[in-house]
Symmetry: C2
Subunit: 226 residues, 2 copies
Amino acid sequence: MEAVYYSQNPRFYVAVDCIIFCFEDGVLKVLLQQRDFEPFRGEHTLMGGFVQENEDVTQAAQRILEERTGILYVPLEQVGAFGSPNRDPGARVVSIAYMALVDKHLCNDSLNAKHNGFWVNVYDLPSLSFGHDEMVHKALARLRIQIGKTPVGFQLLPPMFTLSQLQHIHEAILNEHIDKRNFRKRVADMSYIEKTDKIDKTTSKRGAALYRYNQLEYEKSLKAKL
Amino acid sequence: MEAVYYSQNPRFYVAVDCIIFCFEDGVLKVLLQQRDFEPFRGEHTLMGGFVQENEDVTQAAQRILEERTGILYVPLEQVGAFGSPNRDPGARVVSIAYMALVDKHLCNDSLNAKHNGFWVNVYDLPSLSFGHDEMVHKALARLRIQIGKTPVGFQLLPPMFTLSQLQHIHEAILNEHIDKRNFRKRVADMSYIEKTDKIDKTTSKRGAALYRYNQLEYEKSLKAKL
DNA sequence: TCAAAAGTGTTAAGTTTACACCCATGA
DNA sequence: TCATGGGTGTAAACTTAACACTTTTGA
């Protein structure tokens, strides 16, 4: 029972595309797929899919993320909408890009294998169809801004992590070297990055203190800033 | 000639909604409309419309902006996509919000009058249908970030303006008082805000120097930062 | 002559950067 | 014992914030 007001207008497919970042082997990676279906069979793209009836657009992105990695309950951030008429040669599709940071250990790689998924160094990106390159670059630009302002790096790590790991993430995202002492000083000022009494012995002989992120403390610190 | 791949998915109306800011009487204002059509007849919303076949989404926003203000060639910035299933009670509509800053003097008010348009202080916003309040708040938040990093204030002013006018815009956007000396010092460091030899006598007896924005100088200064 | 807006510098506080050595341990 | 990554402080440079008086001129 739709008014004429609406029906004189065209309708389009609405897709979501996910820029899923992980951190592995000291490298910031993004999840791609090699398409085994048209259009652009054989080419590379982000993981994406169509928004369904009664499905929130953000939910659709959650669904894609879960289908391809098994990961649920990770914050997704909208990167932008992409709506030029010829993005997709098969049909008019307006696509909304979302980015997520995931802990690679939690990814179920058999799931993404079903979709010809693979992880690639974000600084060594093949060319992507549907203008997905632009989405990745925009996501990375946004991530760089975020990492300077809000704690997001820990999302790429297990619940407990060393400061060196966290620093390497910052370095990978910003693509530049960071001074260790200055970095640790900055982290020390973040009440929500808490030292635990656990020690990680896997990356050094001496062992490194394990830290964890405390969401409640973060919210407190936000309020304190006002 | 669309593959099954597409056609098993639903299609939605895609709308654009414009957050059009102006600066008038020392106040940051946004253009609203009182709807004289369903849904939400009589209620307030942003100016918006549906994306058409073969029309780029950004172009659609340009079109709406021009229809309602007569203004062309103003940069539009995407604020975000809004896609929850029940945003619009009449049909499933995914809406993409854009913001623009316009010089009120260039607005053709007879055009927006045709659409029941009116300007309202952004800090005295009535409640808006379709979740348009959220769009305005997000746009304002983005504008606050922008104004600290990139020159955008001048877009709300005529080509020549005084530093007091520019300062008042910053104050209106940030909703806080700015120290005059510090503000002028900061502007003096911006090579792309150039003093002209013209004097404005309308706002003070003494007269104030008129400045103008130089896009080329801005681009130069960006390069110089790298 | 006075009200009203334009214009102008200095100092203190805070933030950011640069920089080098000792520590603990397993191999 | 030594190679490897973990851990620590200080000083200089820079940026930001606070602050008050003089100038011009039309009414």
